[in-house]
């Protein structure tokens, strides 16, 4: 799941040295969206804004096209476009308006869970070679800060991760889960696991 935060005002000021047309995408706002910050910022830049379009799901090319059609004159007259959306929305607009400079107004981050049902408690490292059979169904790649596959490092203290002291060590959770399902001993039997990053490039 992608979420966004407003870029620093220095960066934004630089973009706004030109007169810009603004796209604001609120599609994912139910999860997280820096709406207020964007509105506050935009209200301070009135004279630099040639128009604003508020839209849902800018990442949908079809919708984006229709918004662009609707605002074609105003877009034509601006010197550039700023898009407040995740990186995907910005790229869609940049592709559809190839001849205009398109700037991202936000930085994009991800939350647990990729395009599943919005945010989740667990996460998937998209590794292409699911290890869950070895780990009692807890993803070692995302629940271990180092993404270790062969057991924990020595850093956990009071069962907490050495990197994030308030987070449970993924490998201790894995071990406890395995014991619960009577698989505690299998950890020893597994061979040495090594990731194959080529799977990612090849899409498995």
């Amino acid at each position: 799941m992608l979420i966004t935060k407003l870029k620093s005002s220095n960066e934004l000021d630089e973009f706004f040295s030109k007169k810009l047309f603004v796209f604001k995408c609120f599609g994912c706002s139910e999860v997280y969206f820096p709406e207020e910050e964007i509105n506050n910022f935009a209200s301070g830049k009135q004279e630099k804004i040639s128009g604003i379009a508020q839209i849902d799901y800018l990442c949908n090319e079809d919708f984006a096209k229709r918004y662009i059609e609707k605002n074609v004159d105003r877009i034509h007259n601006c010197e550039g476009i700023i898009v407040f959306s995740c990186g995907v929305g910005v790229q869609v607009v940049a592709r559809l308006l190839e001849n205009k400079a398109v700037y991202p107004g936000c930085n994009t981050f991800y939350l647990n869970g990729f395009q599943g049902l919005t945010v989740l408690e667990c996460d998937c490292g998209q590794c292409g070679q699911c290890y869950l059979n070895h780990t009692g169904g807890i993803c070692p790649i995302t629940s271990c800060a180092k993404g270790l596959l062969n057991g924990p490092c020595g850093g956990a203290k009071n069962k907490k991760c050495e990197v994030h002291p308030e987070v449970d060590c993924g490998w201790i959770s894995i071990y406890e889960r395995l014991k619960k399902i009577n698989e505690g001993s299998t950890l020893k039997k597994k061979g040495v696991l090594i990731r194959n990053f080529e799977k990612i490039i090849k899409g498995i």
Binding site: A101, N107, T118, G136, G137, K180, I181
Partner: protein, 665 residues
């Protein structure tokens, strides 16, 4: 469109090894997400069976939607654990982890039968997200978007080395050294920048890989997750726009010259006319008599003359219905039947209920169910009366203002209802975005032990009966059941106010408070006579924009559940909570759009339904299938349609499905 299906069945050899060690296995498979919804089932189990000869081990196979939705998945699969079989899961890693988590406490082993496909195709930046629709662009969420200096191409995902300072030396003929099929993104960047006559920025960028800390991710995820199940599962937080009318005191709407009083203003059978054309009527005089058990009378809101009885366009039923047209003589001459009972405490419950019926009181929250039916000696014992002060619908403030300005009367009305039902406990639920109302009501409830005011976290549709009961009492109204089944009666604050008016002042339900909001020039909260023509409201409140049907849309009620008004020769009814005038979205919501299985509708449906099936089967007119997916449980709250990433008009399909699936005669 692109198919983003995230998993693929594991390699044969690995599966064999895995399944060799198990005796009995049940397979769950996720029906996948992010693909055009074209056919419902694609059996992954068959594939497994084909690959391996495990039919003797396979004890069952179940397809589940959105396996990663823990809340719903848990409800569906917990019954499977009793068997002691192992569970094999075919889904992406999220689904497998969710099932494993659920199975943990049962000591059941879960097998991953599929591998998750990496989405970025880039080993340096493994994660790749494609947004909420099916497009080609991807983003890795690097936290320091470079698109401003790269002409809108993502160097993080699209450069195999995630280089951000220009290309490496490996590209040959503009193709990436890693994959000769793929254009080197840096070459693309260069070309596009040239086209725009921009220079490639020379500042050297250094990626901060720790820019979004684990802690922060966790904080936001937890926040977002907790909102999903806060108060009740699903729901959402639409733009409220309550501020437009929040602080506008209730104003008396100027009396109209003509009023149209529909004979059917409630759920049930219409009132039967009891006046004649040309007859002189007084304010509060009964003009239609109740015609059955679930029926209530209607009264004249003014004194004057019955001009005619004719068909008018009903604002809720959206068909022509008989209405009594009364010409106001502006004398406000009261009918002799208007006689209050301030000493109601000495009266019998049955007599009070009868007055409530006689005064034509129906639920004012919009449902218009005759109130006396709810209050009449119920079959099941009732132990709790809940007063609904949520008004979760955006824009509306009628109930809010009523609580602020007429708290005492509401409180007295509550006491009357409590006496009728002879219940000990009363809960009044108000959303926490209405601090003034809470303050006013608190002054009265504070001193009493029998009533509890609950401030509820604002979330739509908190005001729906079932949600409100769940939040305030923790009780779950059974599927297809009524509040009574869990010993609860719910009354809206407006209704309670009307009860007060009826009992203490003897006043029938001829006026109510409504909110006029949105793009009206003069928005406000008005005490208005039932029967006031919509045209008078449009004139008085400056609703001229409505004539531009291309750009504006008028709803009776709020933007979520409000009914779209296309004919303006209509009038206020008992269930009118207000009128909202809003912009029409440039992207029309349509029944024709194709569902992409993003699952957002499932995420927000407070009734825990799977609205995407109404979108899919509705479009294909397979009404029985809609019934299979329990379309009758839908409360038409509109959450699914509000978030639908394909902008499918799910609610209208639902309405059709309800009509066609259950009324087959």
């Amino acid at each position: 469109m692109i198919d983003y299906t995230k998993y693929q069945i594991k390699a044969e050899e690995e599966l064999r090894q895995l399944l060799d060690s198990v005796s009995d296995i049940l397979v769950l498979w996720c029906k996948k997400c992010y693909k055009t919804f074209e056919k419902e089932e694609e059996s992954e189990c068959e594939k497994i069976l084909k690959i391996l000869d495990v039919s003797d081990k396979l004890k069952g196979c179940e397809a589940i939607d959105f396996l990663c939705n823990r809340y719903l998945t848990e409800k569906k699969i917990s019954s499977l654990f009793g068997s002691g079989y192992g569970i094999g899961v075919i889904s992406c890693g999220l689904g497998i982890q969710t099932v494993s988590k659920i199975a943990e406490s049962k000591g059941v082993k879960v097998f991953a039968l599929a591998d998750t496909k990496p989405q970025s195709g880039n080993a340096t930046s493994i994660r790749g997200y494609h947004g909420i629709t099916l497009g080609t662009e991807k983003c890795a969420g690097c936290g320091q978007c470079y698109l401003g200096i790269t002409g809108g191409f993502c160097p993080v995902v699209d450069c195999a080395k995630s280089l951000i300072n220009g290309p490496c030396g490996g590209a040959k003929d503009g193709k990436c050294e890693v994959n000769s099929e793929k254009a080197c993104v840096w070459v693309e960047i260069f070309k596009r920048m040239q086209k725009q006559e921009r220079n490639l920025d020379v500042i050297s960028q250094i990626r901060d890989n720790n820019v979004f800390t684990f802690e922060e991710n966790r904080k936001i995820s937890t926040f977002s997750l907790s909102r999903r199940t806060e108060n009740f599962y699903g729901g959402l937080h639409p733009y409220e726009n309550k501020h437009i009318t929040e602080n506008l005191a209730i104003e008396k709407f100027p009396a109209s010259k003509y009023l149209y009083i529909f004979l059917l203003q409630h759920t049930g059978s219409p009132a039967s006319l009891c006046v004649k054309e040309g007859e002189i009527v007084k304010l509060g005089q009964k003009i239609g008599e109740s015609s059955g058990l679930i029926s209530i009378p209607v009264h004249s809101p003014v004194s004057g003359k019955v001009v005619t009885i004719e068909e008018k366009f009903h604002p809720a039923l959206l068909i022509n219905c008989p209405a009594v047209v009364i010409q106001n003589d502006f004398q406000e001459e009261k009918d002799s039947s208007i006689k209050g009972y301030p000493e109601w405490e000495l009266m019998q419950s049955d007599d009070l209920t009868e007055i409530i019926r006689e005064k034509g009181i129906a639920g004012l929250g919009g449902a218009m169910f005759p109130t006396h039916v709810k209050l009449r000696k119920p079959k099941n014992p009732v132990d709790t009366l809940i007063i609904n002060g949520c008004e979760c619908e955006p824009y509306l403030n009628a109930d809010n203002r009523l609580m602020i300005e007429r708290a005492e009367q509401i409180f007295e009305g509550i006491k009357i209802a409590r006496k009728i039902l002879s219940v000990d406990n009363v809960i009044i639920g108000i959303e926490d975005n209405k601090s003034q109302a809470i303050e006013q009501m608190k002054k009265l409830t504070e001193r009493e032990s029998w009533i509890e005011l609950k401030e509820l976290k604002t979330k739509y549709p908190q005001g729906a009966e079932k949600m409100l009961i769940k939040t305030t009492t923790g009780r779950q109204v059974p599927e297809g059941g009524l509040p009574l089944d869990v010993g609860v009666v719910v009354l809206n604050v407006g209704t309670v106010f009307a009860i007060y008016q009826a009992i203490v002042n003897g006043m029938p339900l001829i006026k109510r408070v409504i909110t006029i909001s949105g793009l009206f020039e003069k928005p406000g909260n008005f005490e208005i006579s039932i029967g006031t023509p919509l045209k008078d409201i449009l004139d008085y409140c400056g609703g001229g924009k409505i004539n531009d049907k291309e750009s504006y849309c008028l709803r009776m009620g709020g933007p979520m559940m409000g009914i779209i008004q296309t004919e303006f020769d209509t009038a206020v009814i008992k269930g009118t909570t207000g009128y909202t005038l809003i912009n029409i979205n440039p992207i029309d919501v349509s029944e024709e759009n194709i569902c992409i299985k993003c699952g957002r509708c499932v995420d927000v449906c407070p009734m825990e339904l799977y609205p995407l099936y109404y979108a899919y089967y509705g479009k294909n007119q397979l009404w029985d299938k809609c019934a299979e997916y329990k379309v009758k449980n839908c409360i038409e709250c509109g959450c699914c349609e509000y978030v639908c990433s394909s902008k499918i008009s799910i609610v209208s399909l639902i309405k059709k499905a309800k009509k066609n699936a259950y009324n087959k005669t």
